[in-house]
């Protein structure tokens, strides 16, 4: 088994872990720190927000993430227009990042489904500006291919609505996307539990990105570990090449030499 093959390359970046995790919704910094550590992730997402000018004291989370050596993947969460998403990425770059951005342009607050037309437009602009663009998109192979064609370094189709925990709702589309594109495919959003992450990886996807499934669990640290193991297990199962499904049994023990009377 080669371990080098286990690294995930996105643009010029190399990740050791195929699990990318969010840093929102945790109880406190201590829980965030413990969950991130248990997840084994080396890239984590962050959001860009207005500084609360009336609040005292800085946010210790970002300082911790940088000091601990995590690669920051800023997102454009909450943006509903090309302009807002592009401005958010430029601000993120000014804040000092590796150049990777998770582009999400939302179309509707209830489903948080992406507006794929605007996502394409924003991604095009950001690729031109030299960003390593990872767009959050629908599980639509046609849009996914267009995102690759305009120069996105990876494409991140959803499994289900953000934070819904519904799991992989359309494994067939994800499989088609994986078979059609050559850039890494990272399932982003909708994972609820470990088996969802494992299924994403068994389909051949290159990674999984999640936040709520871990942060919203009763025990986020344990769930982070479960997700790490699930992503590793799913990846190994994919690489190992599963058996064909068959309708009837195939005995595991030798058929010859069975004592007693013959059957069938």
């Amino acid at each position: 088994m080669s371990t080098a093959a286990e690294e995930l390359k996105i643009g010029s970046h190399t990740l050791r872990s195929r699990l990318i995790v969010g840093t929102g919704k945790y109880k406190d910094l201590e829980q965030t720190r413990a969950a991130l550590e248990a997840s084994g992730a080396d890239m984590v997402t962050v959001a860009v927000r207005r500084l609360d000018l009336n609040a005292k004291g800085g946010d210790s989370l970002i300082g911790y993430l940088k000091q601990a050596g995590y690669t920051l993947l800023p997102n454009t969460a909450g943006c509903y227009t090309v302009d807002d998403a592009v401005r958010t990425c430029r601000l993120a770059r000014e804040l000092g990042i590796a150049g990777l951005v998770k582009v999400e342009v939302l179309g509707d607050p209830k489903t948080l489904f992406p507006d794929v037309v605007q996502t394409l437009e924003a991604s095009k602009i950001l690729v031109k500006e030299g960003f390593t663009v990872l767009p959050y998109t629908n599980d639509d192979p046609i849009t996914a291919l267009k995102l690759q064609d305009i120069g996105c370094a990876a494409v991140m189709p959803l499994a289900a609505p953000i934070g819904s925990g519904l799991g992989i709702r359309n494994p067939y589309n994800l499989e088609i996307i994986k078979q059609t594109l050559s850039v890494p495919i990272i399932v982003d959003a909708g994972v609820g539990t470990a088996s969802d992450a494992a299924i994403a990886m068994e389909l051949g996807c290159d990674g999984v990105l999640m936040n709520t499934a871990i942060a919203g669990a009763q025990d986020p640290v344990r769930m982070a570990r479960a997700m790490r193991l699930a992503v590793e297990a799913g990846r190994d199962a994919f690489l190992a090449g599963r058996i064909e499904k068959r309708l009837y049994a195939s005995a595991s023990s030798p058929l010859a030499g069975v004592i007693g009377s013959k059957h069938g």
């Binding site: 500084l51 000018l53 946010d59 601000l91 000014e94």
Partner: protein, 69 residues
């Protein structure tokens, strides 16, 4: 010194004329390190915070990273 009105993070503020971006950040009690500044929808690079003067009606965004998915 005469005052002028600008907008910071969606709120109207009065600042002295001729104030720079860096001066504004100091006046707001913000350390220059972990924030990014946009003036009238254009990034003001950190290197020019000290030399960029603000004018009446300027609209500023002062942002930072927070936890998120």
């Amino acid at each position: 010194m005469r005052a002028m009105r600008i907008e910071v993070n969606g709120e109207a503020r009065e600042v002295s004329q001729g104030i720079t971006v860096l001066g504004l950040l100091h006046a707001l009690g913000v350390q220059d390190g972990p924030v990014a500044v946009e003036k009238n929808r254009e990034i003001v690079p950190r290197a020019v915070h000290a030399s960029t003067e603000l004018h009446e009606g300027d609209v500023l965004e002062v942002v930072h990273f927070v936890g998120g998915g």
